[in-house]
């Protein structure tokens, strides 16, 4: 493994977060064919290390915005699992009362900004939140996640320029999984020098290619420290790999746009397994048991929660 050797507490914390996300999403995939989850799900399975590595160095009052592939970010930042599961079920007890579903998760009690299904839209919104945090002057920062496809949107470049110009306290995180739905970056990028493009705005960048959660965490720790000290925005490109199909619970290695061999490196490099193996077996077993209980409780909560009442349709169209 690369990255600094973590202390036991950090290791256990990181493993717990990785494992929770993996198991929650495996459970979502298991339940999905029952049609109880009435929301398109974009699973993060395989990509957990990015959200976990970044969020592990954020403080509770820092703000994080994620993408529609956002279960990992939501959980890594401390979003409420029961409310997330209820949201996927469309229940009134969901984090957004059933109005958001999987793609628009939100939990402001954990400073998880709302997610968006329109690629790239949350990039400037995270920056705007960071502008407000700068004015507040309490040292809080924002972390704005995006996929590789979002970097092709004009608003990405516009926001980088604005954030650099005003030295906004924001960490931009690109989760580069190599595909926009099914289109590889080779169909979309004239050059893969993403960090170099970003660096022209005067923004420090780091590219983490090995997918290692502690490499990501170390890079994030350095970046976040500098941002918090007033150094302005930073950018991280974290290479990763989506193990399941773009949307839905299944694998899609027989669909012709990629094959199982492509992902061998990532499978061999599974961060959930690797961090788990670093733990003492009994410690790991205890964490795993806790997670299973937590998930079971969340699924029960979702199953037993009531549907939203019809009059909820018109609630919150406008703020009072």
């Amino acid at each position: 493994m690369s990255g600094n050797a973590p202390d036991l507490e950090a290791l256990a914390r990181v493993y717990r977060s990785l494992r929770l996300i993996r198991r929650v999403e495996e459970e979502v995939a298991r339940i999905y064919p029952s049609d109880k989850i009435k929301s398109p799900v974009h699973l993060s399975i395989g990509q957990e290390a990015v959200a976990v590595g970044i969020c592990d160095v954020l403080k509770p009052d820092d703000v994080m915005s994620a993408t529609y592939r956002g279960h990992a970010g939501y959980l890594a930042k401390g979003g409420n699992l029961k409310q997330m599961m209820a949201e996927l079920y469309g229940k009134g007890t969901g984090c957004a009362g059933g109005k958001a579903g999987s793609m628009h998760l939100v939990d402001m009690s954990a400073n998880v900004l709302g997610m968006s299904a329109v690629v790239g839209t949350t990039i400037p919104i995270a920056a705007g939140y960071a502008l407000a945090l700068a004015r507040e002057g309490k040292g809080r920062i924002a972390a704005g996640f995006m996929g590789d496809g979002a970097t092709e949107e004009g608003v990405f470049s516009e926001t980088l320029n604005f954030a650099a110009l005003h030295k906004l306290p924001i960490l931009f995180v690109c989760e580069n999984n190599g595909f926009a739905i099914h289109s590889p970056t080779s169909h979309r990028w004239a050059s893969d020098a993403l960090c170099e493009r970003v660096a022209t705005y005067g923004i420090p960048t780091q590219e983490i290619t090995d997918g290692n959660v502690f490499s990501i965490r170390d890079a994030a720790e350095k970046a976040v420290g500098e941002i918090r000290a007033g150094g302005g925005p930073q950018f991280m490109e974290c290479h990763t790999y989506r193990w399941r199909e773009h949307v839905g619970p299944n694998e899609d290695y027989d669909d012709g746009y990629r094959n199982r061999d492509d992902f061998q490196f990532w499978r061999d490099n599974d961060q959930v397994a690797q961090t788990g193996d670093m733990l003492d077996a009994s410690d790991r077993g205890a964490i795993d048991a806790e997670i299973e209980a937590e998930i079971s409780e969340a699924v029960d909560f979702a199953e037993q929660s009531p549907w939203p009442k019809p009059e909820e349709l018109f609630n919150h169209v406008f703020a009072d």
Binding site: D107, L131, A319
Partner: protein, 351 residues
Amino acid sequence: MSSPTDARTLSYVEALQEAVEQEMGRDENVFVIGLNVDDHKAIQGTTKGLIYKFGPERVMDTPLSEDAVTGISIGAAMAGMRPIHVHIRMDFLMLCMNQLVNMGAKAHYMYNGQLSVPMVSRSIIGKSWGQGAQHSQGLHSMFMHVPGLKVVAPTNAYDAKGCMIAAIRDNNPVIFVEHRLLYSTDAPVPKDPYTVEFGKARISGEGSDISLVGISYMLVECLAARDLLADVGISAEVIDPVSLMPLDIDTIAASANRTGKLLVVDNAWTAAGASAEIVAAVCERGGAMNVGRMGYAPTTCPTTPELEKEFYPNAATIAARAYAMVRPDDKPWMPDVEPTLPHEAAFRGPF
């Protein structure tokens, strides 16, 4: 609410400026953001002096980047600030559509009340002196279509100040529609801050034979048409919706039911527009009435004045249409007046 006695005569520009300055003084979360808001022209004077009083952190010049700056405004609003994002023409709001429609309008609902977006998006519709295809569009109906956005189009200095203060204090995104030719108009404006409530139409001139609804600058043309109609013995009631979303159909429908005739004149195209919405909403309430709509010619706005004058409704064409609705058996009548009102004729641009 101020007493009328402290009112001075202010221009529409001065009223807007005063509203923003007073609100920035009242609430430190209010800030102005947009290209050139801090320069010597100060958005035709509407942001005059703010940079000196409040500094560059609260009067932020921007890169053009309308898409990002809209998103940044939404993000800042979610965090509790109250941005006023300024555009010198409404046409540029097309660059903001993704953020306004997909995020700004929906955030409060989609996140079930966990976030709200208290922001104002100011924009100016241009007319005359060669504004042409891309400096003249009235695109308010696009925003009226989307739940979660409020749309206001005040037509006088009093409403400009009251609506701006209401918009800044509103906890939703408000599309604030201004018209360049209204900027030089003036009205008594109370000095103390006050709000003009959204969703309340104003009867700008009473009448009994026909109801004219004028949106944005067309309210001014409707009032001039009312004078022309009075000369031939027709009494026209003129209604200013003031806010388009929420829309006060009650007041408009009550007037239309009283006169039996409704002519809606929009500062925009008629197709799928505000005029269609108003006429449909009134008709849905029942009652026998004759309805009509006027608006931009269904073409792109040309720059040359010889074509441009054919593009817009004006007091004479509005009066002629109203006359035909009130006296359908008479031969057509067209008042013999210049197609431009005095303050429009005086306008020399460039913007």
